[in-house]
Symmetry: C2
Subunit: 103 residues, 2 copies
DNA sequence: TACTTATATGCTTAGTTGCTCATATTGTAA
DNA sequence: TTACAATATGAGCAACTAAGCATATAAGTA
């Protein structure tokens, strides 16, 4: 293992730590999709979305295949959804506690 | 909910996505610790560690209390460890697949 | 062949992050 | 009070990130 401890874990989290990228992952929850479906769903610049997709693929979170003109992306390991879900639960608890403090 | 979807989830992941911060969380797995124990364990600059601790607290991942001169930090929600563990599992699978491709 | 559609990429710019050094703050002890 | 120990913070800098625009590549169609 080169370098400091946990660099790979850190990189994985970093890859997920962007609103657009999480939104992409959510879109891919129910199966693979092509860029031409992802871009309009996100309402972001095509080049922007393409970069986020490329990053997620580079980190091994997504994989892609070509189908004619279309590039189809899918999530490699469904446990990334566990990550997102757990994060939401942590946040929900956090907010509930803050809310209680105000009462 | 202001702004784009998933900004809070993204921020949470971002807070965790640094090797030093993950190392801090690992150190706190078995209970609270003061900065004076954390800094030597990490072998990093005191000011550097302090900033990472401050960031984790600002994001609600850590909480702190004072005990005399010492500042003691602890993990607020143990589910952050689930996040780290799941990340490791994802990485392990990812590496195993790469390894198999080389055989 | 030329044209079109789908996607990726080079370039630039603005904003962010992480680090270090030095200093400030807070609490304890003499 | 002064001195010290533990922690936090301001300033400055290098490195990185995300976004947009324009352009390039790739694959299909006429």
């Amino acid at each position: 293992m080169p370098g400091p401890k946990f660099i790979y874990e850190a990189e994985l989290f970093k890859a997920i730590s962007h609103p657009t990228r999480i939104e992409i992952l959510q879109l891919l929850r129910d199966g693979e999709k092509c860029v031409c479906d992802i871009v309009p769903a996100l309402e972001k610049e095509q080049s922007n979305v393409s970069r986020h997709l490329g990053l997620l693929r580079k980190e091994g979170i997504l994989s892609s295949r070509k189908d004619g003109l279309k590039m189809i992306y899918r999530v490699e390991d469904p446990r990334v959804f566990e990550l997102i879900d757990t994060a939401r639960e942590i946040l929900r608890k956090c907010w509930e506690e803050k809310r209680e403090m105000l009462l």
